[in-house]
């Protein structure tokens, strides 16, 4: 199996870029925008994305013209029937206009199937899977802090048939401290395992927080390289982006133009110090905010969507996702929920613990469901601590299941040891 990750360059020679462009032009029209966009934004891609892109384009390269024609003919036929070229479909960028043109076509469902088929065949041809990282253990660690009133996670919608809820024997916050802090913490373990100085060190360990607490837990005397996103720390930047997003007119083409302008704008003055010098992560956050899904509006939606996108784009070995409280909708101004509530209403913010808990539970589950889309799921475990119910919900493949008895409370130290073992194996 080809380990393409090693072959994905940090920077391109212009001849390489041109050859990749040539391969992209061999593909049907609707496959080009996403690939062109990735190529243009090479510097902002995570190692996994680079590996996948270069692997895919090598797969295209490996196919003869007649093989590629045979494979893509049904898709090209559909594109012709969809009349996309005439309707102004962009091949440079993934635009809203493109998405709208595709979605309203009567051939949309067929088109989706055909595109997925072509991608799968080319990826197979490229053997682009990175077996090195797939073999390593992975962990999703979710924290539902004690401000969220939760009775039982197991009693809610099923996360996974393998899931087991255990009672905690000790302070629930201790699970987070042990997992993240100091030399015995999991970020330190991953940093040790990563090749020092490579691009993977930060990308392997993500921490996403609805507030701004996790940074303090993991920080200390000797900073450990992690990818840290704290919603509260992003406030100034968020407010500015939200104000601009809310200028989007009711017109798809104009919206594309506005979003492009936001991407090109210099936001340097508004980024938090924690993201200093991290251009790729800044780009990730901006794309996250521009892709909707509530990331600009609600902290818990930010946590879920960031985790889901991190899994899709970076395939980190560990994600820590900590949820939090949102404020109660305010009279009158809540009708425009997309506006900055603190700015448009001077009424005092009031927390909504019950509503936040409902939101956090379904979104925590969504993070786990996101992991199930990728082949790494076979080596991925999940630990969700519900601090208010002093319980922990654990999902693990059969070979990694903890040996605790379900009717006995488990001390945080035992959970920490087990979490370490899932990443070490």
């Amino acid at each position: 199996m080809n380990t393409v990750l090693c072959d994905a360059p940090e920077r391109f020679e212009s001849t390489t870029r041109e050859s990749y462009h040539r391969e992209i032009t061999r593909l049907p029209l609707t496959m080009r925008p996403a690939l062109n966009k990735q190529l243009r934004q090479w510097d902002d891609l995570f190692p996994f994305e680079r590996s996948r892109l270069t692997g895919f384009l090598r797969g295209v390269e490996s196919m003869t013209p007649s093989q590629l024609d045979r494979l893509t003919q049904p898709l090209r036929f559909l594109e012709a029937r969809m009349d996309l070229a005439r309707l102004g479909f962009s091949e440079d960028d993934d635009t809203m206009q493109n998405a709208s043109l595709l979605a309203r076509s009567p051939y949309y469902a067929q088109w989706r199937k055909e595109v997925q088929h072509v991608f799968a065949v080319i990826e197979d041809a490229a053997h682009s899977a990175d077996t090195r990282t797939r073999d390593k253990g992975r962990l999703i660690f979710i924290v539902l802090p004690d401000t969220l009133p939760i009775r039982s996670l197991a009693a809610q919608r099923l996360w996974d048939s393998r899931g087991i809820e255990y009672k905690l024997d000790g302070a629930p916050q201790r699970v987070t401290e042990l997992a993240l802090a100091g030399a015995s913490g999991l970020p330190a373990l991953l940093a040790e395992e990563s090749e020092a100085g490579t691009d993977n060190t930060r990308a392997d360990c993500w921490m996403i927080d609805a507030d701004a607490r996790l940074g303090a837990v993991v920080g200390g005397q000797s900073p450990i390289p992690v990818t840290l996103l704290e919603y509260a720390a992003l406030k100034e930047f968020r407010d500015r982006v939200l104000a601009q997003v809310n200028t989007v007119p009711k017109d798809i083409a104009a919206t594309d133009q506005t979003l492009t302008a936001i991407r090109r704008q210099n936001w340097d003055a508004w980024w938090p110090p924690s993201l200093a010098g991290q251009n790729r992560l800044r780009s990730f956050v901006l794309e996250l905010f521009l892709s909707g899904n509530g990331a600009l509006i609600f902290s818990n939606a930010f946590v879920q969507w960031a985790a889901s996108e991190a899994l899709r784009r970076a395939r980190p070995r560990m994600i820590t996702a900590r949820f939090g409280l949102r404020i109660r909708p305010k009279p009158f101004t809540s009708i425009a929920i997309f506006e900055n509530q603190q700015k448009v209403s001077t009424l005092r913010d009031e927390d909504d613990p019950e509503g936040s808990a409902i939101d956090a539970q379904i979104l925590a589950r969504y993070i786990w469901l996101s992991t199930l889309r990728y082949s790494e799921k076979e080596r991925t475990c999940c630990v969700c601590v519900a601090e208010s119910s002093r319980s922990v919900y654990v999902i693990a493949p059969e070979s990694q299941r903890p040996r605790w008895s379900a009717d006995q409370a488990v001390p945080p130290e035992a959970i920490h040891e087990w979490m370490r073992s899932t990443l070490s194996e």
Partner: protein, 386 residues
């Protein structure tokens, strides 16, 4: 909702309708003298079956699944086979043809709407057909098609009451002013500017022709109503205001065909499941109140058929489209929904499990009104007294 605040909303709704009527030279109380029955269609955003008509969802819809279902024909298998965006879906429902238009309402429906058929064939006055919507994805283009022999001359009155409230907030915010309980001077200029602006379509008002100005007393009362809303501690819902404007239109004009679209549950796009459920519960309550209103108004009592249906479901948990946030997945969760029919066309309450499509609603309503020559692919809904 507390009584005093609701009264204020009612007052605001009444004024909105009055302003509308004055602008169009409608005669208030000018009810139809035809012998046609009345039809009301309520559509309500994207709602999954699992959050409504399922074991775990019934708690969110005590009225719909309780006394309303008990007297209705319930269709549990209603399919949206079109584009699962708001503008396309509602256009498809009112035209009976799956529409594939610009999602944000730049184009008129490509085939005639029920409003146009009804007004043209029955020679009905302009006040006879209305579409009152909470949904900001719609535009007034939805009231009439682009078909040459039909078009705006036969179209519906289209109103967006929720947008009026939203715009007041947005405008204040965009100019760096906070809205709070004591600052009346902030809200008044927002409303005044919006209501006197030429750009009614941006506001959601379907007003053709020249400009007009609100008289100061009217504006003052509306401002007072909204100002008092700010002072309360309960959230104001846009659907509540849409409901009140709709009932005001019913009282004053008794239209033959009224389409109301609710959208509070669309807060799901921002990722709050709890607020999405609140939106579903609000719709459940408002539909019940609407049905009570039908029983109270002489123009509607015993001659009205009410249809209630979600526009679509929402995406499956675990989908690449992020589950309940969105409604663009080609899945059962997104496409399969339900419909209740109450009133005149129902002679026996029952559940009909025959699969139907949302576009079947148009030929059904056409038959209720004895309309002919509709070029639609659907069939009338089974089980109704037509």
């Amino acid at each position: 909702m507390e009584v005093s605040r609701r009264d204020l909303l009612k007052a605001a709704a009444a004024l909105v309708v009055e302003q509308w009527a004055t602008r169009r030279n409608f005669v208030l109380g000018n009810e139809s003298k035809t012998r046609l029955g009345k039809v009301i269609v309520v559509t309500c955003g994207g709602i999954r079956r699992e959050d409504t008509f399922s074991e775990s969802g019934l708690t969110n819809i005590p009225h719909l699944s309780g006394n309303l279902q008990d007297q209705s024909i319930f269709y549990p298998l209603v399919r949206n086979a079109g584009v699962t965006s708001h503008y396309n879906t509602i256009s498809s429902i009112v035209t009976g043809n799956w529409q594939r238009l610009d999602d944000w309402g730049k184009e008129r429906p490509a085939s005639p709407t029920l409003f146009e058929h009804l007004r043209k064939q029955m020679r009905l006055r302009p006040e006879a057909t209305w579409l009152i919507s909470s949904n900001k994805a719609l535009t007034s283009q939805i009231g009439a098609s682009s078909v040459r022999d039909f078009g705006p001359d036969y179209g519906a009155n289209v109103m967006f009451p929720k947008q009026l409230l939203i715009n007041a907030v947005v405008r204040a915010a965009s100019q760096g002013r906070a809205v709070h309980s004591t600052d009346r001077r902030v809200v008044q200029p927002e409303l005044e500017a919006m209501l006197n602006s030429d750009n009614y379509d941006g506001l959601g008002w379907n007003i053709s022709g020249g400009t007009f100005s609100l008289d100061t007393p009217t504006l003052g009362v509306m401002q007072q109503a909204i100002d008092d809303l700010i002072r309360t501690n309960a959230p104001v819902t846009g659907d509540e205001f849409t409901f009140l404007v709709s009932t005001e239109v019913m009282r004053r004009f008794a239209p033959e065909l009224l389409v109301v679209t609710f959208s509070d549950m669309e807060v799901a796009h921002f990722g709050s499941y709890s607020l999405h459920l609140v939106g579903i519960r609000t719709v459940d309550r408002l539909v019940s109140e609407l049905w009570s209103m039908v029983q109270q108004l002489p123009s509607y009592k015993d001659q009205t058929t009410l249809f209630v249906l979600p526009e679509f479901g929402r995406d499956m948990d675990g989908s690449t489209t992020n589950g309940f946030f969105n409604h663009r997945e080609d899945s059962v969760s997104t496409r399969l929904t339900w419909m209740l029919c109450l009133g005149n066309a129902v002679h026996k309450a029952q559940t009909i499990e025959t699969p139907v499509e949302q576009t079947d609603l148009c030929p059904t309503i056409a038959r209720l009104f004895d309309l002919n020559h509709l070029d639609v692919p659907g069939q009338s809904l089974p089980g109704l007294w037509i």
